[in-house]
Structures are given as structure tokens and as C-alpha cells.
């Protein structure tokens, strides 16, 4: 670990000041500290923001949810409003990491977490994300867990978050506070695909602070849930996952929100699958036909070809689980 300075701030203005001077925000530390130990991250200054008042979960006027950036994963997963309004969020959280990590990690940190690509985490390997222009060791290396969607020749690393997949499905917005004030970004615009600059992972301006994630209201009733496919039953990242939310009224799917995890360089929204569902009546054949589109555009690598088929099956299974067959 490289030497660093550590400061603790007590209000957002102090935080933004420290951030503007180049300080890195730290809350639960479950990603950043690991990466500092591996010298992948070498911040000069850490700014502890755990004292900021960003720990509220509130129901918005029309029935959406605003989850403060410093709400712990465990708190969010257990929150009655999260559980009743958006089970897909609480399920994604509960299927993440371990109990210990969920007790420490915050929602803001969760969506900021960096990839599990083992070449990224090994400072002696080539990695464009860690060291621009050094090359991508994963592209022709061991890439079983890597992405098949949203990749580039510069980076094929998967975004590891589960709850971000639920947020992407539900078209959440990220609330940001910067020196120029507050702004809100759609989730799809917040996390960046690697393109030719995989070192840029979020659309954050210097010193900007995540204050909350806001899930918009969706028409009710809304059935939702998260399916995670992984090698072992706990404490493991997704090979594939599917976040599904369906609004079915009068026997017809009126709204469908679907995203996939474990397969994309960012949480992968599946608009073609959604379009295939809306206006249709639930049926076995509908789920299969819709899921058939889930891997459109996939660019599999040597060791992750299986994810193409697995992704379709994961989406199909979760559509059936949430939508039923009637």
C-alpha cells in the first residue's frame, strides 16, 4: 500500500472542497482498501465521507424510492419500503458479497466498485483500465468471467455489481453533487462503456459526490425479482444475472424492465427484450422468444462463450419466475 493522507469530513461542503483538491472519497472501503493493498489504487488523499447525512431511504411523491449514497447494502436490503416496492433491489443486494461486506459497503460505493478482472487487480499484468495504453491481458488471456457485451478491443472487464443491474433495469437516476451544484444522471449514462478509454468508468466530474440513487415510480402492480447464476451459492460474483420487473394488467404486459449482469462491461439493459414483451400476454413461448434476444450483439471470448446461451436461459427463467405463465 502506498502512503496516503486521510481526512474525515463532517458536511458536504467540506467533502466537496477535499474532493476538488483531488481527494478520493471513501465510505465502506470494501473495494478501495482491497485495491490499495494491491497497489492498484494509489490515492494520495482519502476523504472519509461516512459522517455525511446521506443515509436516508425515502419514498418519493409518486411512489419511487430515493436511497442515500451512504445507506449500507444490508440496510437497503432490509428496508421495508425497498422490499415491498422493489424486491428486485433487495434480492440483488442480498445475493451480493457476504453479510460482513454488506454491513460495511454503501450503495454509492457499490455502484462505484471496480471490476473483478484479475488482470486489472494484478499490477504486473497489462491492463488499459489500470494503466492506459498498456494493453488488455484479458482479451486473449483467461476470460471466463469477462464480458460478452459492451466490450472493446481495449477492455472486456465485467461490471461486478448486482444492485446496479436492478437499478439499470428500473431506470434509476444517480444524484450527484459537485462544485457547480446538483445534477441527475440516468443510470445508463452514469456508468461508461470502455470504448478506447476504459480508465474512465463513470461520468463523474472531478470532486463530484454521489448523494443518492433514485428509482422512479413505476406503474403498479409491479412484480420484480433478481436471478443470479454463479459457481457457488454465496459470496461470488455473477456468471450471469437477470433483473426483471413486470407490470401486468388485464392479462397483458404493460411495462417490462429487464437488465442483465455478469455479461456486460456495464449493467446491461435489454430494451429489445422489453419491447418484445410489452403488449403481449405471458406465455412460455413469449418468455423464450423474448429471451432469445437477450444476447444480441454479444462478442464472446475464448473462455466465456457459454455465457451467450447461459444469459438467454437466465433471462428466460427469470421472466417465467416473475411473469408466470398465465
Amino acid at each position: 500500500m502506498h502512503p496516503f493522507a486521510f481526512t474525515k469530513v463532517s458536511d458536504t461542503r467540506e467533502a466537496l472542497d477535499a474532493g476538488r483538491r483531488g481527494g478520493r472519497y471513501i465510505a465502506g472501503g470494501t473495494t478501495l482498501v482491497d485495491l490499495m493493498r494491491e497497489t492498484v489504487e494509489r490515492p494520495e488523499t482519502l476523504v472519509d465521507i461516512t459522517g455525511l447525512p446521506l443515509r436516508e431511504v425515502t419514498v418519493t411523491e409518486r411512489g419511487g424510492l430515493r436511497i442515500g449514497a451512504l445507506v449500507r447494502m444490508a440496510e437497503a436490503a432490509a428496508h421495508p419500503k425497498v422490499r415491498t416496492l422493489f424486491p428486485v433491489v433487495s434480492e440483488a443486494l442480498e445475493l451480493s458479497a457476504s453479510a460482513q461486506l454488506r454491513n460495511m459497503a454503501t450503495l454509492g460505493g457499490n455502484i462505484m466498485q471496480r471490476t473483478r478482472c484479475t488482470y486489472f487487480r494484478d499490477v504486473t499484468a497489462d491492463c488499459n483500465k489500470r494503466e492506459p495504453e498498456s494493453g488488455c491481458a484479458a482479451l486473449h488471456g483467461f476470460n471466463r468471467t469477462h464480458a460478452i457485451l459492451g466490450t472493446s478491443d481495449h477492455c472486456v472487464a465485467t461490471h461486478p455489481s448486482d444492485v446496479a443491474v436492478a437499478f439499470a433495469a428500473l431506470e434509476a437516476r444517480v444524484s450527484l453533487l459537485g462544485p457547480e451544484g446538483e445534477r441527475h444522471l440516468p443510470f445508463a449514462d452514469f456508468l461508461l462503456r470502455p470504448g478506447s478509454s476504459p480508465q474512465h468508468e463513470q461520468a463523474l466530474r472531478k470532486g463530484e459526490l454521489i448523494t443518492a440513487v433514485e428509482i422512479p415510480a413505476h406503474p403498479r402492480p409491479l412484480r420484480s425479482g433478481y436471478l443470479k447464476v454463479r459457481d457457488r451459492q454465496s459470496y461470488e460474483f455473477a456468471l450471469t444475472s437477470a433483473a426483471v420487473a413486470l407490470h401486468i394488467r388485464g392479462g397483458v404486459i404493460r411495462e417490462a424492465k429487464v437488465a442483465a449482469g455478469g455479461v456486460g462491461t456495464v449493467p446491461w439493459k435489454l430494451p429489445t427484450v422489453e419491447r418484445h414483451l410489452v403488449g403481449e400476454r405471458p406465455s412460455e413461448s413469449l418468455w423464450a422468444a423474448a429471451a432469445e434476444r437477450a444476447a444480441d450483439g454479444a462478442r464472446p471470448l475464448e473462455h466465456n462463450r457459454f455465457k451467450v446461451e447461459l444469459l438467454k436461459r437466465t433471462v428466460e427463467r427469470q421472466l417465467r419466475t416473475i411473469g408466470g405463465t398465465k
Binding site: T118, R144, V229, R232, Q233, Y235, F306, E309, T314, R317
Partner: protein, 742 residues
């Protein structure tokens, strides 16, 4: 001598060191030796300890062209950077002991050659761990890199070790039913919870090393050889081991690095491997490629087997393990041919890992037996019964005991084997296909010479010492049980000490050998003490036992008395006090199985029930049962823990564990517990262990056959066979992952 009553042996006792462990008082290698002043610990007895962090080679093969240590040396708290350019030349005297395989062992910092990715190329010593870690990250090493060869499938194997009986080719040709299958087994790492660690301290020419090891004597001998020190100048201490599974069976390079760094800096040095460094700083279960051809008649009587076995070894040492054993003796058949080739690769040297050799071979053989049973339409247990041998056909020796058929019967009944449908895909529970599978397990448990010492003090307590280890099976507890009964004392009044090279010499704590070997020496030592006491009593006119035939005296609860007449006797304390004896001592020895010519193996039948989500490629182990023919069970509670641990390890091998090497540069890409997957609690459901009552007295005083290894043998094939029963998919690669099942 009258046989001693057995009060402690066979009792389901908790660990005698359990409280120390759960209260954090058990001292592991990385914890500095403390003077125990209070029950809560004490002050460190070593002053001025500094920290060492190894710099690992970032190429897989080649030469170091330069090392720039300037930035590291400038960093605060860094004391020294040691590498091949400035390290003292070390004698590295030959040492064919210490579990060193044939070859030329890795010599730390003695030249500029890099033999594998991660090889130690420098060590940074700092006043704090953080300073040393930071310093290590600042060392700049330049290399002249060459292409390493790390792929077992592409490299040239060495000369095979061969075995043959009969004419296997002809036997196979004339077999009515033939199988020809190729298997691939991934490399596995032990991943004990406790990382390997060393504290080294020189006092003049006296070197004391606190080291995580399963064999203080082996480490002692290796250090003496490397530094060319007289035996009595080296002491190795390791009272507690936080898991080993075999990884502590050798003295690894980092132990030498720590001792070297301590000598160069003149300070006590602590060196703890990071989890990542455990993947190349210590050994591993080698990957295998294994082709098995098997022939039988139409009734399933085996005729011939041809085993072609390729396994990883390093470029500098030839590691071998008992992968040929099971194929020679598990089933009766006239014709067997085996060729076992070690494939030298640019990797570090493997080491034995739980159930070594047998666990790997059993996956192949037991998968093939299941396949054959399916081909023939015969129940897998019935097929095995039809091939049960009457003797070890590789040596024509009789089995000491072999109760494998009983394991099958008991297991089948207990597990509900009759509920299994032999037809794949015929049992279902919602999205899950259900399958039942079984496999036989066997292990060639070791019996090696060793010594022990017992001392009975005037206060009626005893101390027993041997330089063995307790990597987790509960050696402290089980040896205390054995000693307590042999001395006629209670558990509370006996202390068993281990893990110090100053104690009587023993063989390695591995190969399921400790109870038969060390236990026999402990019994011998304790018998000698008890016999001395009895002799003292029967010859002492003032003793109530005066004149009694020594053979009629037993000791129970610290009291000597006439067998069958507890009223006539006295305590050890009275006896020793009256005779002005401060203590009695006995040196015990075990000389190995000696003239015993029987085939001595432990067995199991392992059963698995799995659920497979065939759409998503998921395998979940719902239930497992192991039935063990392991001789006498000294400590039932510990034995059950052993069995569960072995089954969990086997589940890991079957479904999760796979050390992945990037063949482009020899890098291990999943060197950490986040990426090398072991089972977590949620993966483990219902486990059950059943031990057949009985004993096997072949060449040991305790009637045991060893347990810790055999419990993992057979687990992976039982699971793979259950997966076949569930899905109809025969998976011949370990681990069985989603992509294989989609």
C-alpha cells in the same frame, strides 16, 4: 501386562486446545512467541522484530538483468533489500530428507535465473509490515524473459514410472466391453486459513525458527542443510497450525528467506506470505491428464486396465505421489498396465494435498466404474462387489482388514440407495434434476518410525512430548487420549506437547500416519512409565501392592490397583512420594510396521445426492454420506470433523477448485480466495459420517488405519456420478462447471 482400561480412547471428547483456539491464545507461527504471564497472554519474548516482504518474479521464465532497489531503500522504514546480487552464498548442502523430491531444489537469491512466475527474486526488510510492503512495491526488476512452458497438454513428459501385471493390451482386446476415456483434473491449492509464515531469530550461531509446518523435524533438517549448521544449532517451533492439508509438508523457500534476512539484518525477522503468494510460494495438488482404458466381460468382471497418467511437476524437481496405487489394488483384475509421467513445467513444485494421488486416481477409476455399470445395466455397487479382490493383487499380500463391501452395504441402507433410479433424468424436483451417485475410496495410510517421551511427575500429572504436529485433526486431543489410557490417568492430568524440534523425532504429520506412528510411540513411552511405577509398587514393602504379580496391576484415574480388586492399591502420588521420586520417565519408539506383510489400507464408500439445474448449469450437493473402514476410531467427535472436512474438500475439487495459469507468461490468474473458489457454508448441506466398528492391528499398537486422507478420496467421483445420474452427462473434467453442463 494387564491391558489398561480404555476410558479416554473412544470417548467423544472436545478438543483439549479448543479453548485456547477460540480465545485467541493459541500461538500460530506469525504470532510472536510470548512469555505467558497471564491467562490472557503476555509480553513478547522477542524484541526488535522486523518484517520481511518478498518480491515475486513477474515473468514465468528467464533471467533477472537488473534490480533497482534505490527507491525502496529510500522509503521510510526500509532496512534492507536482499536479492541475488547481494545475498550471501548459502551452502545448500544436499538433503534427500525433509520431503525434498528428486532434483535440485530452488535456491533463494543464489543466481539470476527465474524458473517460474512468482519465484522470490528479492526480499525487503522493514521496521513495520507496511514499510516492508511498500518497499517491496518499489523494487524495480528488469528481466530477460523467455517463453515458459506451463501447459500440461502441450509439454513433453519425462520418463514414465511403469507398472504391469498380465498382458493388459491382450486383456483389453479380448474384453467384451471396453471403455476408453480421457480425464482432466485441475490443479488445486490447499488454501489453509492460516497463511504460511516464519519468524526467524539468530542468537549467535543458534537459529530459532517459528514456522508454519506439518513437520518441524523436516524443516529443521532442511534449514540445517541450507545454512550448513550442526543439528543442535537449529530449533524449529510450531505448536499450532491453522490448517495444512499437506501444504506444510515441506520447508518452502520463504522459510529460508526469513532466516537469511534475519542473518543479514541481525534482527529477528517475521515473514508472512500473502494469500496470493501461497499460490506459488507453496505447493499444490498437480493437474492431471489421465487416460483410462478398461475392459470387462458381459457380467462386469474386470479383465484389464491401462492407465496413462500425466501430471505436473516443476522444471527443477520431480514430484511424485501415489496416483498408481488404487489402480493396482482396488479391484480384482488379471491385467493392469500403468505409465505415470511427470511433465516438467515452469511452475513451482507441487506437494501432496489431502488424499494425495488416490483422490485424483479415484476420480478416474470410480467415474469409469460408474460408466461401466451404466453400460452393463448393473447397479454400481453390484459391479464393485463383483470385482472385490481377495488379496492385494499387486503384491499378493493379504489385506490386514478390508471391509469395503460392508461400507457399501451400510452406506446403501443409510443413504436410501434403493430409491435411486438407474435411468438418468428420471428424478426431478421442480427445475432441478436429482441424481444419486456413489464411489469407493481407498488410501494407503502411512506407518513410519517415530519417538515419544513421557514423564510422570510426583503430583500425579504427566507430560508427553513428540515432535509431531496438529494441523487440525486434533492430534493434541487424540494423543492425550492415548497417553491418558496408557498411563491410567484422566485427560485433565495429561499434557501432550508437540511442534518443537527438541522433542523426540517423528515422521511428517501427513499421509494419515500420525496416530499409527506417533500414537504407537506414545503408547510405548507411557507403557514404560506405567511399568516402572508398577514395578516400584510391587517391590515396595510399604505398598499395598507389594508382592502382587506386576501383570495383575492396572492403573485407573492415577491409582494403581489389582486387576479386579480396586480396593487394593494406591495412587501414583503416594507411590512416588514415599519412594522420593520426583518423576518417572519413559522413552518410547515405534519402528514402523516391521515384519507385518499385510496390505494395510483405509477404505470408504461415499454417496452423493445432487440437484442439477440443467438449464442454468448449476450443481448443488444436497446430501453426502461417507462410510469409513478406518480401523479403530480414537476420537469419534474429531473423526466426524475430519470426515466432514474431507467431504467439503472433495466438493471443492468436484465443483469449484481450479488454479488457472495463463500459459502466455505462467501467471496464476486466480491467486486469491475471491477468484479461486472453495465451498462456502451455503454450498454444504447435509453431511453424514459413519465409522465401521472394529480395529486393524497390523503393525501398530492402536488398531487404527488412518482417517484424514481417505475421507476426501471418492468424494469427487461420487458427485460426478450423481451428476450423470441426474443429467445423463458424463463429465470427465474437474471441476464440473456450468459450461460443461449447458
Amino acid at each position: 501386562m494387564s491391558p489398561q482400561p480404555q476410558a479416554a480412547v473412544g470417548a467423544p471428547l472436545s478438543r483439549v486446545d479448543g479453548r485456547l483456539k477460540v480465545t485467541g491464545q493459541a500461538e500460530y507461527a506469525a504470532e510472536l512467541p510470548h512469555a505467558r504471564t497471564t491467562s490472557r497472554g503476555g509480553t513478547p519474548t522477542l524484541k526488535g522484530v522486523v518484517h520481511a516482504v518478498i518480491v515475486d518474479a513477474s515473468i514465468g521464465r528467464g533471467r533477472i538483468t537488473s534490480i533497482d532497489t534505490r527507491a525502496a531503500e529510500r522509503a521510510a522504514g526500509v532496512l534492507r533489500v536482499i536479492h541475488h546480487g547481494n545475498a550471501p552464498r548459502l551452502p545448500y548442502r544436499d538433503n534427500s530428507g525433509s520431503n525434498n523430491p528428486a532434483g535440485r531444489r530452488l535456491r533463494v537469491f543464489q543466481d539470476n535465473r527465474v524458473l517460474f512466475h512468482g519465484q522470490p527474486v528479492a526480499v525487503v526488510v522493514g521496521t513495520t509490515l507496511e514499510a516492508a510492503q511498500h518497499g517491496a512495491s518499489l523494487v524495480e526488476v528488469d528481466y530477460d524473459a523467455e517463453q515458459p512452458s506451463t501447459d500440461l497438454t502441450e509439454a513433453e513428459p519425462g520418463e514414465p514410472t511403469r507398472y504391469a501385471r498380465g498382458d493388459a493390451e491382450a486383456g483389453l482386446r479380448s474384453s467384451a466391453v471396453r471403455l476408453d476415456a480421457r480425464y482432466e483434473l485441475a490443479r488445486n491449492h490447499h488454501n489453509p486459513m492460516e497463511p504460511h509464515a516464519t519468524v526467524a531469530h539468530w542468537d549467535g550461531n543458534q537459529l530459532t525458527v517459528w514456522d508454519k509446518t506439518q513437520w518441524v523435524m523436516g524443516t529443521h533438517d532442511e534449514i540445517a542443510a541450507v545454512f550448513d549448521l550442526p543439528a543442535d544449532a537449529v530449533r524449529v517451533v510450531n505448536p499450532f497450525v491453522g490448517g495444512g492439508f499437506g501444504s506444510g509438508l515441506r520447508c518452502w523457500p520463504h522459510t529460508i528467506v526469513a532466516a537469511l534476512a534475519a542473518r543479514v539484518t541481525g534482527r529477528p525477522v517475521k515473514l508472512v506470505l500473502s494469500r496470493k503468494q501461497m499460490y506459488f510460494g507453496t505447493g499444490f495438488r498437480p493437474a492431471y491428464r489421465y487416460r483410462l482404458r478398461l475392459g470387462s466381460d458381459r457380467r462386469g468382471r474386470l479383465k484389464a486396465a491401462i492407465h496413462d497418467i500425466d501430471a505436473e511437476t516443476s522444471s527443477y524437481e520431480t514430484f511424485t505421489e501415489a496416483v498408481m496405487g488404487a489402480g493396482q489394488m482396488l479391484y480384482s483384475m488379471p491385467h493392469v498396465r500403468q505409465a505415470y509421467r511427470q511433465v516438467p513445467l515452469h511452475v513451482n513444485t507441487p506437494i501432496w494435498m489431502r488424499g494425495p494421488g488416490f483422490a485424483s486416481a479415484s476420480f478416474v477409476i470410480e467415474s469409469a466404474m460408474d460408466e461401466l455399470a451404466h453400460e452393463l445395466g448393473v447397479d454400481p455397487i453390484e459391479l464393485r462387489l463383483r470385482n472385490e479382490p481377495n488379496e492385494d493383487e499387486s503384491t499378493n499380500e493379504p489385506f490386514s482388514t478390508r471391509r469395503l463391501t460392508e461400507c457399501y452395504r451400510v452406506g446403501a441402507r443409510d443413504f436410501g440407495w434403493d430409491r435411486r433410479s438407474p435411468k438418468p433424468r428420471s428424478m426431478r424436483d421442480g427445475n432441478w434434476l436429482i441424481g444419486l451417485g456413489m464411489a469407493a475410496g481407498v488410501y494407503d495410510s502411512g506407518r513410519y518410525p517415530g519417538e515419544a517421551r513421557a514423564r510422570l511427575d510426583a503430583d500425579g500429572t504427566a507430560v508427553v512430548e513428540a515432535a509431531t504436529s496438529d494441523m487440525g485433526p486434533g492430534t493434541y486431543t487424540s494423543q492425550t487420549q492415548v497417553a491418558a489410557d496408557a498411563l491410567g490417568l484422566t485427560m485433565r492430568t495429561v499434557t501432550f506437547r508437540l511442534g518443537d524440534s527438541r522433542y523426540p523425532r517423528t515422521s511428517p504429520h501427513g499421509g494419515s500416519s500420525t496416530m499409527a506412528s506417533v500414537g504407537s510411540a506414545v503408547v510405548d513411552a507411557c507403557n514404560k512409565v506405567r511399568e516402572q511405577a508398577i514395578k516400584l509398587a510391587v517391590e515396595d514393602r510399604e505398598s499395598p501392592l507389594y508382592g502382587v504379580d506386576a501383570n495383575d496391576v492396572v492403573v485407573r484415574g492415577g491409582r494403581l490397583h489389582v486387576q479386579g480388586n480396586p480396593a487394593r492399591g494406591e495412587t501414583y502420588q503416594r507411590l512416588l512420594a514415599r519412594n522420593n521420586r520426583s518423576h518417572l520417565e519413559g522413552d518410547g519408539a515405534y519402528n514402523g510396521p516391521g515384519s507385518d506383510r499385510s496390505a494395510y489400507f483405509a477404505y470408504n464408500a461415499t454417496f452423493a445426492e445432487v440437484a442439477v439445474d440443467a438449464d442454468l448449469g448449476l450443481v448443488r450437493v444436497r446430501r453426502m454420506l461417507g462410510v469409513y473402514d478406518a480401523g479403530r476410531i480414537i476420537s469419534p467427535k474429531l473423526a466426524e470433523s475430519q470426515a466432514f472436512g474431507g467431504i467439503v474438500g472433495g466438493i471443492g475439487t468436484a465443483l469449484l477448485e481450479h488454479t488457472v495459469t495463463d500459459h502466455r507468461d505462467g501467471r496464476i490468474v486466480n491467486a486469491g480466495l475471491a477468484d479461486y473458489l472453495v465451498p462456502v457454508n451455503a454450498d454444504i448441506r447435509e453431511l453424514k459420517a459413519v465409522f465401521l466398528d472394529g480395529e486393524d492391528n497390523a503393525g501398530n499398537l492402536l488398531g487404527v488405519k488412518g482417517l484424514g486422507e481417505v475421507v476426501q478420496v471418492g468424494v469427487a467421483p461420487a458427485i460426478a456420478n450423481a451428476v450423470f445420474n441426474a443429467t445423463g452427462r458424463r463429465i470427465r473434467q474437474l471441476p464440473i462447471t456450468a459450461e460443461a453442463l449447458l
